[in-house]
């Protein structure tokens, strides 16, 4: 298992709301702090990442901006990527601009499926190929915050589909390059982010299976995010039950009623046990090492919180299945 910091391209994926953007940001922060030149690219209509890293940050847009030393962020907008691609292919920016102004063209593109995914991955390929003046890679590590699974797999499958739907021409050739990149274990890693609950756990198992069987994108570990830490100290594993046994009339000045204390304690114990159980299931069903990230009590925003998660993410010795 090559350390995450030494990868070229990490595509973070998972169900909606599992923490993909948080994980992408956390990895970007520790990698940049470790001296890597990092690009983190958010895919989709909205930008969340800059504001997670630095609350209140302005959007970074397609051109991107450095959020910290060695940490560049951008959002890949498919139309902008398409304009750039056509500009490179045709060479005449004016022609491309007029094509984009053509209403029929916009209509055609708005209605056509698939090209957004392809052009987005094409842009990632282009970024991966970029070099600086010394001929070194422009970025050491590129992190892509991919759309939620379901769409996430479609996203990765599009180059193959285009390869078989288009018979000839540059498009076919370029789709081939993209496909080679995302299937190459030396360059690409898909990093699934899951939550340790029943349905996300099952979906993750399905995702990994489909990745292995159909899509062929390398995956070597699963991130299980927001795991509730053990809530009670050693020797007090049944604290919730003890609280429930306290006399109902007991009043602790400055504290909620004991019944409420018992209910809250039971909630945390329930979540912790549930998380532990489903983490185990994810490990067994995917047969992959698991990296767990704690559920942070005060949210996962800002550089400090993200660094905590980032270090947990890159710490070696992930739990083996």
């Amino acid at each position: 298992m090559l350390p995450l910091l030494d990868r070229r391209l990490v595509i973070v994926t998972g169900k909606g709301g599992t923490g993909k953007t948080t994980v992408a940001a956390a990895l970007a922060i520790v990698a940049a702090a470790a001296g890597r030149r990092v690009l983190v690219a958010e895919v989709g209509l909205d930008e969340h990442l800059p504001a997670i890293v630095a609350p209140g940050a302005r959007p970074v847009g397609y051109d991107g901006r450095d959020l910290a030393k060695g940490l560049r962020a951008m959002r890949i907008d498919p139309y902008e990527a398409l304009a750039e691609y056509l500009g490179l292919q045709i060479g005449l920016r004016g022609v491309v601009r007029r094509v984009f102004e053509n209403r029929a063209f916009r209509q055609l593109m708005d209605a056509s499926p698939g090209w957004r995914e392809l052009i987005t991955l094409g842009k990632v390929w282009h970024l991966e190929q970029m070099q600086d003046e010394q001929g070194r890679n422009r970025f050491d590590l590129i992190i892509v915050d991919a759309p939620a699974t379901g769409h996430g797999l479609t996203f990765l499958d599009v180059p193959r589909v285009v390869g078989s739907a288009v018979r000839a021409g540059p498009l076919r050739r370029h789709a081939g390059w993209v496909e080679q990149m995302i299937r190459d274990p030396d360059r690409t890693l898909l990093l699934p982010v899951a939550l340790a609950e029943e349905l996300p756990a099952r979906e993750t198992a399905e995702l990994v299976q489909r990745l292995r069987e159909d899509v062929g994108v390398p995956v070597d570990r699963v991130v299980v995010n927001a795991v509730a830490p053990a809530p009670f100290p050693p020797g007090a594993g049944d604290l919730d039950e003890r609280l429930a046994r306290l006399p109902a009339h007991l009043r602790i000045p400055g504290a909620p009623p004991v019944a409420v204390l018992a209910a809250c304690a039971a909630h945390w114990r329930g979540r912790h046990e549930l998380n532990a159980r489903w983490t185990q299931v994810i490990a067994e069903s995917t047969e992959l090492p698991i990296v767990t990230l704690p559920r942070l009590a005060h949210g996962a925003r800002g550089r400090d919180a993200l660094s905590v998660l980032g270090h947990a993410l890159v710490r070696e010795g992930a739990v083996a299945p």
């Binding site: 029929a104 209509q107 599009v158 020797g235 003890r242 409420v260």
Partner: protein
Amino acid sequence: MKTPLDPKAVIRDRRIVVCVGTGGVGKTTLAACFALEGARLGRRTAVLTIDPARRLADALGVAELGNEPTDLPRERLTALGVPPEGRLAALMLDMKRTFDALVARFADSEEARQRILGNRIYQHVSDALAGSAEYSAMEKVFELSEREDFDLIVVDTPPSQHALDFLEAPRRLLEFLDSRLVQILLHPAFAAGRLGFRIFQRGTERVLRVIERISGVSFLEDISEFLLAFEGMSEGFRERARQVQDRLVGPDAAFVLAASPAPQATSHALGMLDRLAAARVPLAGVVVNRVHLWPGVGPTPERVPEQEQDEAAVAALAAALAADAGADFPANDAARAALACADGYAGWVRDDAESTAQLEARVARSGGFVRRVPELAGDVHDLEGLVHVGDWVFGGPASGADAGRSEGA
């Protein structure tokens, strides 16, 4: 403010109930829960999921869901209080099969049908590319609503960034078929590859040249042939798309928004309200799922105590715990942990109330219902779990009080 709708009345009276919402908020669970309530009210109910992740099959406890309705066994339904006239069937959209069936229906000849199904472009757009889920889902809903053997159709919409892709799919498809470029590609001579671009207006010519340059001329020919094959059926298709849309925004249908208190989920949900309003789709209500509620106060959270750990409270609680424990019980640490659990939980309750206030107030103002389902200790993964969720959605009219609180906030 109008009298809010009642979720139970919606399930009892409407013919189509569409659950919208971003991914990860429990839309599929909610759809299953609505469908179960429909069956319990004695309606013959079908629930359609588009979710490829099989959540619905899991929750309903059926092994496989297919493109045709599968009935839940009668014994199970009876045990859940479904009367004999009620029925609950579930299906999972098979995009390819549904689209193929559509083609078969509208193709004007067997030859046209074969030509489409064999076309390279068709083989891909109909199943592999993003967006076709919505086209097919619309079609399936319509097909179900035409059937005589179901009274209620509950739809779980595809996970997508644009909640309304689903609703807008037919319009986009029509716009696409009507667009000038497509009309040109529909020219038979174009498909035959004999026509130069020169006869077109300059703008169009330029676009075609760009596409050709990138994709090769054969791709344009394939597209053209595909569209040509579609042309014969586009009238039927157009008519159908119009009917589907009419039915979905008509009085027999209801849209319910599924949301969760996660800040991103609520901002998505607010965006969705705007888009629904712009599309003139009336919203029946919102269900906010996985809300942390303060123990013992039921569905309406009251003010939650916010407190620093107070050493006297730690000592008093430690003493109470120690009274009933062995000498080696870490009473002090345990008391601290117990208070921390309550503080942590109170934080969730406060955050959730704050992040959902605006959403709930907006829905309530427009006369929609507002329901909260608490974050349950376990997962909702079986029929009993669905009944439990249903108790929160269809139980007492807590929404009025909720809305008042939210608007005051």
